[in-house]
Symmetry: C3
Subunit: 99 residues, 3 copies
């Protein structure tokens, strides 16, 4: 089976900005996303997700170009203002037209 290379972007952030974040992801070219509930602790000792309805963990599989756009918007509009943890993995997908 032929697999295609894509990037998996995982964003953990405050549930209060879920809708705004998802709209930005779609606007920047993400064709789909998966959201699950989470709680956690960040590097500045902020314990998140205990109050305010918890955290969200968003995953989206995207091309390199879309990833770059999303990371720039995160860096400009989200990282300075919100508890937001992000990491990128190399993944393979079967149906590349979907991502």
């Amino acid at each position: 089976m032929i697999l295609k290379q894509r990037k998996l972007l995982t964003i953990v952030s405050e549930v209060t900005i879920e809708n705004r974040l998802l709209k930005d992801l779609e606007r920047l070219g993400a064709k789909g996303y998966t959201v699950s509930a989470a709680h956690g602790k960040g590097p500045r000792d902020q314990r998140t997700g205990d109050l305010e309805g918890g955290n969200i963990r968003i995953e989206t599989v995207v091309s390199n170009e879309v990833l770059e756009q999303i990371l720039e918007v995160l860096e400009q509009n989200y990282f300075p203002h919100y508890a937001c943890t992000t990491w990128v993995s190399q993944v393979e997908v079967v149906r590349d037209e979907r991502y």
Copy 2:
């Protein structure tokens, strides 16, 4: 510490097919799996997980051979019929006899 190479397969799909999917994974050689609740949106603009009890996000760590078998069954029996998003990552495990 010596780590062994395996594949992590993540499947996001409709909760209604959870049991069928998990049975197929086990039948095809997956020795374990992790399931968590999710919601999301797919590339054909289908918003999933809002109705019908949401989505599931299944993770299973498998060998290359088992992965290939599972992907073939997904492609034949699931992708044409269900909202189903899948990606594969390279991972390392400590205790290779478990996967």
Copy 3:
């Protein structure tokens, strides 16, 4: 955008040991973590998460050195006693001072 290499460690285990595990992760150098609820099945056919409040799925992004420390403690203190599944992925992060 310059991305830095880190390791993503995922641990799936019993919810009863969540606090102990998180304390160990922080003591060993993890600067943050994300926890979500899960259920699943392990290689010894133990069905976990159905009783006792379910499983937890912990993710932490760490350096190679911190990863090595955590894996040693897991191997000594957790793997022999608890249903515990662990895998490691290579990931990239934007803000390396956070991990």
